[in-house]
């Protein structure tokens, strides 16, 4: 019985130390040092918020760079992967369909040039990035749709390609939303 009494009290004490103390310290730090005062960081175009920097969104227009397939159609209120096994025949048929669609939208590509990451779904369904190669293969389509010089579009891609951490660790990536926003800005000027 004494143990039960201690259990209640120690749980309440921990609620205060952790649920209030620890949480408020972090909340305070985030208000000062977080990129958006503790909220998810956002990207703006002409002063308008057009998306969260770290959350991918759906791009289907031919004037935009596209992100990766998403099992939840970029629903930022949820998240989810396909959870398909790479040995599942139904899944492989789905990927084949995506390859066909990608080739139809980019007729100048050969099959061997289609990057696998552009036809496989991400883990979160909200992947904000594509690989530099995934961007490169789309440059000609975007340039043609906007009547731009492909070299100029490629320059934007290059300037927005993020190197691995400290130049040494991890992957190279391009944030699709920032890329498309930069594109919109260039077209306006």
């Amino acid at each position: 019985m004494k143990n039960l009494w201690i259990s209640l009290k120690i749980t309440l004490a921990m609620c205060i130390v952790l649920g209030v103390g620890y949480v408020l310290v972090l909340r305070g730090v985030s208000a000062v040092a977080g990129p958006n005062g503790g909220e998810a960081d956002v990207v703006t175009l002409d002063g308008q918020i057009v998306g969260a920097a770290n959350v991918g969104q759906s791009f289907t227009d031919s004037t935009h760079f596209w992100g990766r397939p998403s099992a939840v159609n970029y629903n930022g209120g949820g998240s989810g992967g396909s959870n398909k096994a790479t040995t599942n025949p139904e899944y492989l048929a789905e990927v084949e369909q995506r390859v066909q669609d990608f080739l139809a939208a980019h007729p100048y590509l050969s099959r061997a040039e289609v990057p696998a990451e552009m036809v496989t779904a991400s883990g979160s369904g909200l992947d904000p990035d594509i690989s530099p190669r995934g961007a490169r293969v789309q440059v000609r389509r975007v340039a043609e749709a906007r009547g731009l010089n492909p070299a100029a579009v490629q320059r934007i891609v290059d300037s927005l390609t993020q190197k691995p951490w400290l130049g040494l660790f991890g992957t190279e990536k391009v944030n699709v939303l920032r890329l498309n926003v930069a594109l919109e800005e260039m077209c306006k000027n």
């Binding site: 972090l26 985030s30 998240s79 025949p89 040039e113």
Partner: protein
């Protein structure tokens, strides 16, 4: 060498280098020696005073376990109540409803046993109140509970014959105030700076570049992620855990979070060495665990970076490896590394979808959890290894015709019986559970549990019970597991998988502690040698791995061979 592999090597190095000094620090904390966090002493004194705990009071192993089990039982009711009622409680800006009783049962048990199997999705299944006062609270205190149990075992094995093994409440409190909370603060601050949200304002609604409306879930994420990793909990804030770009925004946070999974379980091995002044034994134990872990990492990284053979056959460019269920900013190598790290410990957080990893990686993940003692959960993982040590001592004792002894104490029939029961309970829970569910799924093909056909379908069920019994909490998430059958059956596996071993291991330590200490002589079987370590390794492989071989052959191995 490519930068993805360099990232994996960096992480491995940071773990191995930093766990040693941290282990020494932890030993000091439990011995009550001076440390640089003595500034926490007033907080601790406040807690003892408020709760009516006498920190000087020593407990014998039965009192110790009674306190441990009572507080856990209390947490069960606490969690159940808050989860069912969360719809009416404050801090619920998204208006999420209370959980159904069977789901609340599963959630509550799984967080109480430090497992964090999640049959709900964080964005819609919890309010900010329950995220903080059930999920985060449990992530701290249940990890501390496992560490306290290990502190008791260390005290029992440390020195002279003793009836008492320390004060449970003191160990519990110190684990939070001096180890888990300070480390979590450091990790949390680094996450906040890198863009992990920490707010209470509810979902953001915004209009995308193409004019669609998008809702962004956020909340006090940065408070939960550090302890989810450090306490080997694994229950993500968002549904997809650390694959979610807000929970794990870039390559640096990925390295930091993955490091946080393993650092405490690794440090606990050395803490044992420093506490009991048997550093050689600790180093050998560490060596065996590190070898098994590293071997798994190498195979899995190779498998995932090589890509899926089925996708290869489609003739497209698979330069980045197998990317289904993985994120670009993380990459296939770091996803494979995480998959191994989260399953050798009882963590269970994920940064890629394990269901979509290649079959051999899936098999290694299951094998890690089935063995469940390559580092393992904070505190409890080392204790699982301890049970195997007792068995290895006994078997080698019989082989060379000497009285089995461990750390100067005779190992007798009673301890052996407990150790054997503890070790065999694990395969029993997993294989019986999988057997029953496979029979049900086969008899009712329309039941709709499985997301993938054939061998991989069996793997989904095998993985779920393995993860439950090992208190891991990751899943082959294609499994439709939020049904009363899965909620309740895995709930039972969770309870048995947690308390049975803890009670058994503390009891063994308590029994050993009260025995007469026999001075070591030339006739003593030394446990701090390579030969004995190899022997323990062999016992683990024979007992744990081979019990699961038939099930693995029907699941991932058959999956791998079906090209």
């Amino acid at each position: 060498m490519n930068t993805e592999i360099l990232g994996v090597i960096l992480q491995w190095t940071l773990l191995v280098v930093l766990c040693y000094p941290l282990g020494r620090y932890i030993a000091k904390v439990y011995r009550g020696e001076r440390t640089w966090l003595d500034c926490m002493a007033p907080v601790e004194r406040g807690i003892y005073k408020f709760c009516g705990i006498d920190p000087a009071q020593e407990m014998n192993w039965k009192q110790f376990l009674k306190a441990l089990l009572t507080v856990n039982l209390f947490w069960f009711f606490w969690g159940m109540l808050l989860l069912v009622l969360q719809g009416w409680l404050p801090l619920n800006p998204d208006g999420n409803p209370g959980q159904s009783p069977d789901l609340a049962f599963n959630t509550c048990i799984s967080f109480m046993v430090n497992c964090n199997l999640q049959h709900y999705s964080g964005e819609t299944g919890l309010s900010y109140f329950t995220q903080l006062f059930v999920i985060m609270l449990f992530q701290f205190v249940t990890a501390a509970c496992g560490m306290a149990a290990m502190a008791g075992v260390m005290k029992a094995l440390a020195g002279k014959t003793t009836k008492t093994i320390g004060n449970f409440w003191v160990f519990l409190t110190r684990s939070v105030t001096r180890i888990l909370m300070p480390l979590s603060l450091v990790v949390g601050i680094l996450l906040v700076v890198n863009g992990t949200p920490m707010s209470f304002d509810g979902k953001q609604t915004l209009t995308t570049l193409e004019g669609a409306e998008q809702v962004i879930s956020q909340g006090p994420t940065a408070a939960i992620v550090p302890i989810k990793q450090l306490g080997t909990n694994g229950g993500g804030y968002f549904g997809t855990n650390s694959a979610h770009p807000l929970e794990n925004p870039n390559a640096f946070t990925n390295i930091l979070e993955c490091w946080s999974i393993l650092i405490l379980p690794m440090a606990m091995v050395f803490a044992f060495g420093f506490y009991t002044r048997r550093r050689r034994l600790a180093a050998w134990i560490f060596g065996v665990m590190l070898f098994a872990y590293t071997a798994g990492v190498i195979v899995s990284v190779w498998q995932e970076t090589a890509g899926s053979p089925q996708i290869d056959r489609m003739g497209i460019a698979q330069e980045l490896g197998s990317m289904e269920g993985k994120e670009i900013r993380i990459g296939s190598a770091a996803s494979a590394m995480w998959g191994m790290t989260t399953t050798v410990t009882s963590n269970g957080s994920v940064n890629s979808m394990h269901d979509s990893q290649t079959p051999l990686s899936g098999m290694l993940q299951m094998l890690n959890m089935q063995i469940n003692c390559w580092f393992g959960g904070v505190g409890v993982g080392w204790m699982n290894y301890f049970a195997f040590l007792i068995i290895a001592v006994f078997i080698s004792g019989l082989m060379v015709g000497r009285t089995p002894e461990f750390l100067g104490r005779k190992v007798e029939a009673r301890e052996m019986k407990i150790a054997t029961l503890v070790v065999l309970m694990h395969p029993f829970l997993i294989l019986v559970g999988t057997g029953i569910s496979a029979a049900i799924a086969a008899a009712n093909p329309e039941i709709g549990w499985l997301n993938n056909p054939s061998f991989h379908g069996l793997s989904e069920m095998l993985y779920e019970y393995t993860s439950s019994a090992a208190n891991n909490g990751s899943g082959f998430e294609g499994l439709g597991d939020n049904t009363p059958f899965w909620n309740i059956s895995t709930g039972i596996a969770l309870i048995m998988g947690r308390y049975f071993p803890i009670v058994g291991q503390v009891a063994i330590a308590g029994l050993l502690a009260s025995k007469k200490c026999i001075p070591e002589s030339a006739g003593t079987l030394r446990t701090d040698t390579g030969t004995f370590s190899l022997m323990t390794f062999a016992v683990i492989i024979i007992v744990a791995a081979l019990s699961f071989f038939p099930a693995l052959a029907l699941g991932p191995i058959a999956d791998y061979l079906t090209f």
